[in-house]
């Protein structure tokens, strides 16, 4: 399977990160053997910790944030999360699965059923018909995931009660793309269905879903609802933090040569 850009950078980051720890220890051993200057010892520890911390938090964490939450590459992120599946990222993986619709990557039955409902409502061509009564069952069964807020709204949309749905959606706003993409899609869908045309507010939601949610199933639903969908080119962040590793490496080599 071809590695994604995120996976490659994650692997490089990990290798460089652990390599920098090893070279830091080697550098320390060199200092211990030859120099015995207490200030330089402290310095090696402090500068090493600072640069590694900067690489991790201002480098990799920021890169991942940009990659996923700014440029919306959810499929790549999902692949990375599946490969490094653990309890810590289980919740994030659920959120990403909701967006991409790859139900094979989750064990949560409620989430799988929610996706099936959405498919049946928004994508009549491919989605299997699901009885609307079971949506209320799902609402009761669903765990405390943030997406459980979507179920009552989905139920309202299914019942064609668009005014109430829009009012509820208005109050669900968030700056996180995980919840904002489905919310804005629901808003656009309910608004178009209610008015029979695309209002300014709905257009703003459509633009958001097509931009941020380019790799999600919501964009796929929209492309079937709306004509003239413009393809946006994917943008990727630059992993600038490698410069910090390079500087740290140079510094360690200089220390070893002293």
């Amino acid at each position: 399977m071809q590695k994604t850009r995120l996976q490659i950078n994650y692997a490089i980051f990990k290798v460089l990160y652990y390599f920098s720890i090893v070279i830091g220890i080697v550098c320390f051993a060199f200092l211990f053997k030859t120099l015995s200057v207490i200030l330089l010892f402290v310095h090696v520890i402090v500068i090493g910790a600072f640069l590694r911390g900067a690489c991790r938090y201002f480098g990799w964490v920021r890169y991942e944030y940009d990659y996923v939450k700014v440029y919306g590459h959810f499929i790549d992120f999902e692949k990375l999360l599946v490969r490094h599946k653990n309890n810590k990222n289980a919740k994030v993986l659920e959120s990403v699965v909701l967006l991409t619709g790859n139900v094979a990557n989750t064990d949560d039955d409620c989430l799988k059923r929610l996706i099936a409902f959405e498919d049946s409502i928004f994508d009549k061509a491919t989605g299997d018909f699901v009885e609307s009564g079971s949506l209320d069952e799902l609402s009761q069964e669903s765990n405390n995931g943030w997406w459980s807020h979507l179920i009552p709204i989905l139920s309202l949309i299914d019942k064609k009660d668009y005014d109430v749905a829009l009012k509820k959606l208005d109050l669900l706003i968030s700056d996180s793309p995980y919840s904002e993409i489905p919310r804005q899609f629901y808003y656009a869908y309910a608004s178009i269905k209610r008015d029979g045309q695309i209002s300014e507010e709905a257009q703003s939601c459509i633009d958001y879903v097509l931009n941020m949610g380019r790799e999600t199933r919501y964009a796929r639903y929209l492309s079937k609802m709306v004509d003239n969908v413009e393809e946006t080119n994917p943008v990727y962040p630059t992993p600038w933090f490698y410069i910090l590793f390079f500087i740290y490496l140079c510094w360690c080599i200089v220390i070893m040569c002293l």
Binding site: L51, I173, V235, I247
Partner: protein
Amino acid sequence: MRNKIALTYKLRNMIMLASVISEMICAIAFRYNVKLFLVGTAINVLCFWCAYKALQYYITKQLVHHINLRDYVEFLVSKGSLVKAENATLFNVLLWLGDDDCISNYLKTTGLTIEQRIGLELYRLDKSIFASDKQLDYDDAISRIRELLELYLKSDSENKDVANRCSSYLVFYEKYLDEDYSGAISAISDISNQGLLVQWKLFHEAKAYEKMGQLDAAEEKYDAIVKTGGDIRFLKWLNKSSENNHAKISVAMIALCLIVICGAVISILFTNKKYDTVEEALKWQYGKEVSENNKAIDNDNSNKNVTAYVNGAEYLYCYSERYGEKIRIKKAYLNEINGPSIETGLDATSRITGVDFAFYDSIPNDVNRIFISNTDKLDDTFFDTSKLKLLDTIDINGKNYYLFKLN
């Protein structure tokens, strides 16, 4: 680069990176001189911190005092990826700027927090009332903002000041739309007179005065807005354009840049600087003040020089290399640093021996193993005394020291 805010930001990043690199060079250059090491570190850390703070101060100044909103928006848009705080500021600035195209572009890629949503709704209401924009259902808009405000107050990120201010705005709009203009003015009288809120207050008071027929009072307030200038949306709505308003580069940032560069250059020069005398070299390289009078050994062997100084119980050995007329110390040992600790109960001779071993460890075998002691009765526990030869006895500051050669 036309946008000076972007230039200042890049300069800030370069200063922060340069101060880290400069700190590394400084640590290597002054590794034996504690005082210079600490001074260099303090300067670099200070530059790093000042650069971080200076940008915050500069941006606040550009936004609040000079109201260079357009430049700031251009800078953030060109930056691409933004952190949460930057996104929040950008959206706020876009609302003050009143640029609908930029706002709709922002909404294409970024979701809004409740606070931002309230701001957007208030902006649309404001524009609809005062800029003769498309008509809104005012009652519906106000009730929607009230619902959002209630939600905001229940959220974790609620800020009482923001909520109170938004409530005051709503009361103002309601009273203004009900044609109770004096009530509208009193509703916003408590809004703080800080930053851009002053402009907001002036504009809305002026509009209310205008409706009340107090044209002089209104004109006075309009003049105050025009006089402050900047890119604020109220000027656009009044059809008044401000003078060409572009940010200037931060002078503090240039000064910091020069300090860091100078610091780095000085550190680089120090890493290989040669000195006229051993005493001068010791002073700068090791921060040790020694006098020519305390010199006990000066063993010049071609271009490798061994010098020792004594002062009471302290013995300083140094090994320097000669480059023509100049000298650079390669290693220096103070008995307390490298010798066995005094607490171990060993006498002075043993400590000298310890220093001696450490010292000669890096000296080639062909150099005469000469060392100094403050006693001629050396302890045979540490080395074979039969191989020792007393070369000379010297008197330094009234104390006798003995020069030995180890065969």
